[in-house]
Symmetry: C2
């Protein structure tokens, strides 16, 4: 294929040429399949377009008899309102965007996103609203792909997932006064509406689990990239739990990037530099799995030789042997709530409070040792 610019031109031209030969086909009255508009319904019922529109909107000034007639004509003709016409006139489109600032592969590939999507679409479907996907393939673009989506008013609001805390575009959208709901915790965006999870508490809980329930004292943490709030919070929860424990604990930190590979590398680093590690707590399950692979390669048994804990519970931790004890993140619920809040926002209702924080809980599996219940 050619460079992106070439493709764009091709697309535009094919678009215009299609319109050219579309008219004759439509004029040819080909089985009358040209789409049905208000005008057609109006003609069928014998009233004006406006009356049809008002009847469908259940306007009180239209008589019941007419409304019934309109409705049956609509059903019979199969009329579906044209979304462009409606959006143009009313200034609001019947769709919301879900924005994933990172470049396609990485975040889409993550099951987190899938769960989010399930929740969001469920909520959107209930309101007959479509969901548009938007990634940012190219950060060097003048206007980010997703900003373009919003500013073109193709969507009337957006849910932004997994933005790093340094993402400028988030600010730009907030500045442009667009209805936006952030997923995650954004302590430095006090004005924004966000839905997140209590990562500090989750990480604290699982760390305490390692310390108190399993009596482990030498614990390493594999964190995510520290420009992600999620990674920061999980690390902080880990540190706080250690500091508040009445047991004397030793810890180490290795930084990963949430990928399995980086988890494995971080485990390598930890095992080489810290003696007698008793437990590894990774900031997500993929990195925990990476660590598990490294442990396996070194013939270290989990949980006999070393305990392992993860975070997320999006699927990985359930499948491994041993199953990884992890913090369950209710991603689907997150998505559902984010969507609900967005609809409030689009409707002009500013939710209160603006930050929703969902609790998390630990899913016990076998990677920390026998369940101490």
């Amino acid at each position: 294929m050619s460079p992106a610019e070439g493709q764009k031109v091709v697309a535009l031209q094919s678009l215009s040429s299609r319109t050219g030969d579309r008219s004759p086909r439509r004029a040819g009255a080909r089985s009358g399949k040209a789409s049905i508009t208000l005008k057609d319904v109006a003609a069928a019922v014998g009233i004006s377009q406006s009356a049809v529109s008002m009847a469908l909107a259940d306007h009180p000034r239209i008589g019941q008899a007419r409304k019934d007639a309109v409705r049956s004509a609509v059903a019979e003709l199969g009329y579906v309102p044209n979304s462009a016409g409606r959006a143009l006139r009313s200034g609001r489109s019947a769709s919301i965007a879900i924005v994933v600032p990172n470049t396609g592969q990485h975040v889409f590939g993550h099951p987190y996103f899938m769960h989010l999507l399930v929740g969001i679409t469920a909520e959107a479907n209930a309101r007959d609203v479509a969901v548009m996907m938007s990634t940012n393939p190219d950060e060097t673009h003048g206007v980010a792909a997703y900003e373009r989506v919003l500013r073109s008013q193709a969507a009337s609001g957006a849910i932004i997932a997994s933005a790093s805390i340094t993402d400028l575009n988030v600010n730009r959208m907030l500045d442009a006064a667009m209805p936006v709901v952030l997923i995650g915790r954004f302590p430095h965006q006090p004005g924004a509406v966000s839905v997140g999870v209590d990562d500090v508490a989750g990480a604290g809980a699982i760390t305490r689990h390692l310390i108190d329930a399993h009596g482990l004292r030498r614990i390493a943490h594999i964190s995510g990239p520290l420009d992600h709030q999620t990674a920061i919070d999980r690390y902080e929860g880990f540190c706080t739990a250690l500091a508040e424990s009445d047991q004397p604990c030793t810890h180490a930190l290795a930084v990963g990037d949430f990928s399995e590979e980086s988890g494995r590398a971080a485990a390598r680093q930890v095992l080489d530099s810290m003696s007698d590690v008793q437990a590894i707590f990774a900031a997500n399950d993929e990195m925990a799995y990476g660590a598990l692979l490294e442990l396996r390669a070194r013939r270290l048994k989990v949980p006999e030789d070393l305990a392992l804990a993860g975070y997320d519970d999006f699927g990985v931790s359930r499948l491994t042997t041993p199953g990884i004890t992890t913090v369950h993140v209710p991603a689907e619920d997150l998505g559902r709530r984010a969507a609900a809040l967005l609809f409030d926002l689009v409707g002009g209702v500013v939710p209160h409070p603006t930050h929703t924080v969902l609790p998390v809980d630990i899913t016990m599996r076998d990677s920390c040792g026998p369940h101490p219940d």
Copy 2:
């Protein structure tokens, strides 16, 4: 909150400084206009709206000097074309829909879908086209949700994923002459454009692998629901391979629904009814994993006591212990091709041939025994 870490302090500082320069800008931007249209650009440059439109379309009748002026004004004002206006006028929206006929939970939850999505969005992004998601929350609706999306012309075409062969709505959309690309094999839709995978060959290959490379003779198949073409094809490949083999083989069939639970139940059934089973080939990895759980519960070792094979390779089979030998389905590529074909179709080019079939290959892991290479 608690003792701050070195890295975290850095992050906080960089953030707060950005917040600082944001506030004044927001105050200024608030007073701005709702949104910038062609008219505003035209006024700024001092020419007519159409001239601006034509300049942006790189029309030859507009002089280079004007084009430059228009472009800089666009950049300065931050003009973004209104998608509704454009769609209304040109009769085509700059987005495609991806349609998942099944109800949200089930198919969205499947990693197959995620891979598809990666491929589709990659291709769509390259053309500056948005992707809309559409599921069918309620089959009793008069018009299916996704049909509504298409008929409202919110999307100019659709990719339909994982429809059962009995899905009526597919026919309705094809009849309505909408640009539609089906993912999967649809032998009963000769006129439709589809992208699929050679499941018969894939299942045949892995069955032969069990027979020829591992010398297994008593093989059970756990199929998917037999109203899905995928399930039919994989079963057929299995049978054909057995029939064509010069070895005398015995086989059994249990039908599942592609879920882990059904795989486990099917394995139970097979193990209870067929004596001396040597291998189980499941029609997807989730069912294979279910079978693995059942085998584990019966203290049967894989691969020592029984070989296991799956299909899909979307993640599950890589994570289990032992890793499951499976047929790799290039879902991302499938998505990419489907999108490319859809753009052809929307552009008026009917692809030739209409059915694309991608090859599959076997990913060897440890569930069948030592690699015989």
